[in-house]
Symmetry: C2
Subunit: 324 residues, 2 copies
Amino acid sequence: MLTYQTLTDKVNAAIADIQFPKEPQGLYEPISYIMSFGGKRIRPVFMLLAAQLFNKDPERFMDAAVSLEIFHNYTLLHDDLMDNADFRRGKPTVHKRWDANTAILSGDAMFILSCKKMYNAVNENCPEAMTEFLKTQLEVIEGQQYDMNFETRMDVSLEEYFEMIRLKTGVLISSALKIGALLGGASKDEAELLYQYGAQIGKAFQVQDDYLDTFGDVKVFGKNIGGDIMEGKKTFLLISALKKANATQKLQMIDWLEKKDCEPLDKIDFITKMYIELGIPDDYNACMKDCYAKADNYLAKLHVPEDSKNELKVFADKLSYRNN
Amino acid sequence: MLTYQTLTDKVNAAIADIQFPKEPQGLYEPISYIMSFGGKRIRPVFMLLAAQLFNKDPERFMDAAVSLEIFHNYTLLHDDLMDNADFRRGKPTVHKRWDANTAILSGDAMFILSCKKMYNAVNENCPEAMTEFLKTQLEVIEGQQYDMNFETRMDVSLEEYFEMIRLKTGVLISSALKIGALLGGASKDEAELLYQYGAQIGKAFQVQDDYLDTFGDVKVFGKNIGGDIMEGKKTFLLISALKKANATQKLQMIDWLEKKDCEPLDKIDFITKMYIELGIPDDYNACMKDCYAKADNYLAKLHVPEDSKNELKVFADKLSYRNN
């Protein structure tokens, strides 16, 4: 039984070991660069933990796991370009260190590399994993499109928001677990239970990301606190607040959000205080609790050794207690 | 036996029939838009013609053929964005009609759609076609990177140029023929002959594209004549001319190419006259002849009914006599 920490270390070692082609350097250097940023490696670790529920040797599925991480990093690369983000994990983003064309083309290459790696790893023994991967990739892109659509809207409902984060964040975590289960030898029903489990964990993960952007500790969060407020991003906090606010509060919030020439800290301060006044942190806690309870229910239905299940729980719990 | 014209019509009908998802509209509308531009549909038609050499019912491989065209159009979409091109086939490019982010994300979605379509079409009966497709996709991206690298270089050799166009243009035509052959039931050796045949046709196609950009008829070419000269693009013409020029001629050419504030027509006129003075149109004709002779040699080695081979020849010849 491998712990999530051991698996994380092995995923990082495998990523460090990837031999990208050397030429053309302008295409592959940015790929090595972004893959070296590190991170929690959530998707490959979930995949391997799911495989371990059904198979004593999850490491043999490492190529598929790494492929998920390459795909995830391709989405980050293109998203950062589209959001015009300057930094990721404290380092200049690819389009800042190189240029926009490099970000477009290196991202495209990463996408193909992830498909090639997954295809070579799974197609012979588990073609349904490839089908699942391709379906999920398109959903992630759709999620990014909905997220962009929300930028110009003030009337996004919580239901629309949850559907957007399901696509943008949830399905790749769900899919990682499902692909891991399928590769490990799970039945379709078992793989589906893990998919649903992942959907809840993914939802909690994104809602928590929104929360930390406003209420996190600047020293550990790695990004500036209040960035979402400054961008007027339609987050769990903002959508919940606009829903609960009375007419006056709503007008005040929209007024502050639309201000262009105010002190950033004043805007962040006003909106944050409004979140607290409206009890949004309680809503956040309730949402997290609900997701984890539902996730536990899905996991309980799975008939596999409890110790392998526990390792999955430990990893998911660690994510929920994260502060970055 | 279906003629290339019948197959072209059927490809266009199949493309018009694609049911892209309706939502999110901002993602899929630009995809329908670019796919409706038309074009020669070279890659799917070559694929089906190759399949027809070995199989009486090439139409059953239409999904794989359409997948090649979706992939090709994704490369056009991202290339136009990277080149900042305003028009394609006389219509505003996607990033002009919408914006850069739309072009990035819709392109990404097209890429996934092409992979999904190819995978569903071939994986069960001919997984090697999928392997071939993924390998080729990465090569096309590498070709685009080399093309971008050439922008800032004046010392590009003909060998480097031929390798760049092999990747950027040749391999997808080669691969279309190979995938068609494999799907049709060809042996590996037969499929490889068609791959080599396609490499020569693809090379001729790109060299001709370069030629028409300078010596084409503005009324039928669809783009402004001399665009490559204005951009200082490293084409077959320019690289050949720089190679043949004496020291004085070379300095004059570089001087004109680097001028930023001259009349465009003066620059185009000078460089075009230099091409003629140096006998570059003859070099072009020799190159085309060489490619087509080599292509014929590969085709001659193929033991299939001559009438099916003839249809392939008619299509390839038609391409070589094109003026747009």
